[in-house]
């Protein structure tokens, strides 16, 4: 038996070649240009239409507020971050566990998936006051709302991912006399990961929305509370600065999940 070495030497490279650094620079250039144009358009519109500052502040004022009110903004970012990260972890963790249960028990799935879907259709804004009534205005209702909002996309995607195994893979595992446990840990989990990360990315930003909405209803701290406060006081620049912080928080969570995905999902899903 002689191995065909010629074949082994051809074929695609082991890893895709790293993009040259100037490609990243070029991408960054277009991204920055996009932001610059948007901000310029913002400035132009309020100048041309003569929009009052307390309705829409000019970008310069927002920048000023970002600098001057940094301490206030930072102090209020921390509780919101805790609520959204905590809620995200609880919500998606719970969703993963429930998805695993659903995949293994047809009956539980048939019974409770409709319940879950009905609950899902209730807008968070509608549940939030109820939860604040039930749980007071401490950390608990915010965690629950952020968790709820992370829960549904993760559950639905995770169930779909775990079931995305094709019949040929299942036949392979059956020929190998693998048990359910092995099929789960060596096949289903891996199949589900790309689906899971797709939903975690959605859930990570949604959890920030959940925490902010929860803070609107009953809180004296956090970015949500700051939004209410600055709106009532006509401090529109601070309001916009708060939105920038909320957006950055969501982006940081999103980027962390994306980074984790790159570390975990190192293969190319079919």
């Amino acid at each position: 038996m002689k191995p065909v070495t010629t074949l082994s030497e051809t074929g695609p490279p082991r890893r895709p070649p790293r993009k040259p650094w100037h490609n990243y620079l070029r991408t960054a250039f277009w991204v920055i240009l996009g932001f610059v144009i948007t901000i310029a358009a913002w400035q132009a519109i309020i100048t041309i239409r003569d929009v009052p500052n307390y309705v829409v502040p000019p970008p310069g004022d927002v920048w000023e507020s970002l600098n001057n009110d940094f301490d206030t903004l930072w102090r209020n970012t921390k509780p919101t971050a805790i609520e959204s990260i905590g809620g995200f972890l609880i919500g998606s963790g719970g969703a993963i566990v429930l998805a695993i249960v659903f995949v293994h028990s047809r009956i539980l799935r048939r019974m409770f998936l409709p319940v879950v879907i009905v609950i899902r259709t209730i807008p968070v804004v509608a549940i939030a006051p109820v939860l604040v009534l039930m749980l007071g205005n401490g950390l608990a209702p915010k965690l629950v709302i952020a968790a709820l909002i992370s829960f549904f996309p993760t559950l639905v995607n995770m169930v779909e991912g775990l079931e995305s195994v094709n019949s040929q893979s299942l036949e392979l595992f059956r020929v190998l006399s693998a048990n359910r446990w092995e099929v789960f840990w060596k096949l289903r989990i891996y199949k589900s990961l790309p689906f899971l990360f797709a939903s975690l990315k959605i859930a990570s930003t949604a959890s920030v929305i959940g925490a902010v909405v929860a803070e609107w209803i009953g809180s004296d701290k956090g970015l949500g509370a700051l939004i209410i406060l600055s709106t009532f006081n006509f401090r529109t620049s601070l309001l916009y600065a708060t939105m920038v912080f909320a957006s950055i928080l969501a982006l940081v969570l999103f980027a962390s999940v994306a980074l984790l995905e790159r570390l975990v999902v190192r293969w190319q899903p079919e």
Partner: protein
């Protein structure tokens, strides 16, 4: 096939016996009879190829032997026992049409998969070294490659190595080279015969190619469709090792013509 006493005499030498097996699938449009009264007997260490029109039940027959399906009537036995026993005892290896590799595992990790699953049955069984097997199928130096970094032919080699790692006594191959170009296919045919010569396992090989069927097999089973059944069996009395240029020789051409006629009347 054969009379009772003939079968008794051959019992020790029979690897696979399918006797009057009928397989039906329930579908929305009613039942489909995929196999009807199929009887096949394959001796230990034989290389048998199966050919037939699409939908005649070739894959179904393999899956029947691999304990992935059960007949509604008739019987299947592998080494005189039910196929489920052979499967649990790791006597069966299966090579799928599209390799069926796990994309998150490197080539070597894919070959190791059968050693990681199967619970208690997989322990204390003679196994082969996955690295050695990858070298055997011509993938030395590509052990750490992921499936998507390999060509179709290379993936099929990995899949063959994976099927061999448990040292199966029976290797079931369902159109393993169907998606490959003619040159790669011919090369892998030669390599497969070399592997067979080395490990001496029983091989049942499904193909759509007359050429491949005659080149590889000691016997070609021609199946016909509607319902799926065995049409004819044609012996290929050509010595091994078989070289690629065998295909031009009159003996080979004559048998290939015979198979083609069988297919035409199937």
């Amino acid at each position: 096939m054969g009379s009772g006493e003939l079968r008794d005499n051959q019992d020790t030498d029979t690897a696979i016996e399918v006797a009057h097996a009928t397989v039906r699938f329930a579908t929305d449009q009613g039942d489909i009879t995929a196999l009807k009264d199929v009887s096949v007997e394959i001796g230990v260490g034989q290389f048998v190829t199966i050919i037939g029109p699409s939908g005649c039940g070739k894959s179904t027959l393999l899956r029947l032997i691999a304990d992935l399906l059960e007949p509604v009537s008739g019987s299947v036995s592998v080494f005189g026992a039910p196929p489920s026993q052979a499967r649990r005892a790791r006597q069966l290896g299966f090579v799928f049409q599209d390799a069926a590799l796990l994309p998150w595992r490197t080539a070597i990790k894919n070959v190791e998969l059968p050693l990681e699953v199967g619970g208690r049955t997989s322990r204390d069984r003679p196994t082969r070294d996955p690295a050695e097997l990858l070298d055997l199928v011509g993938l030395a130096g590509r052990h750490q490659a992921y499936p998507q970094e390999l060509s179709g032919g290379m993936r099929q080699r990995v899949s063959i190595a994976r099927a061999l790692v448990t040292q199966p006594q029976v290797l079931l191959m369902d159109e393993p080279f169907g998606a490959l170009d003619a040159i790669t296919r011919n090369r892998l045919n030669v390599e497969l015969l070399n592997i067979w010569a080395e490990i001496g396992t029983t091989i049942v090989f499904v193909t759509h190619s007359i050429d491949e069927a005659v080149f590889l097999g000691q016997r070609v089973i021609v199946m016909s469709t509607n319902p799926g059944s065995v049409h004819t069996e044609i012996d290929v009395p050509i010595e091994y090792p078989r070289a690629p240029d065998l295909r031009e020789e009159p003996g080979f051409v004559a048998i290939a013509a015979q198979v083609r006629k069988g297919l035409e009347t199937a």
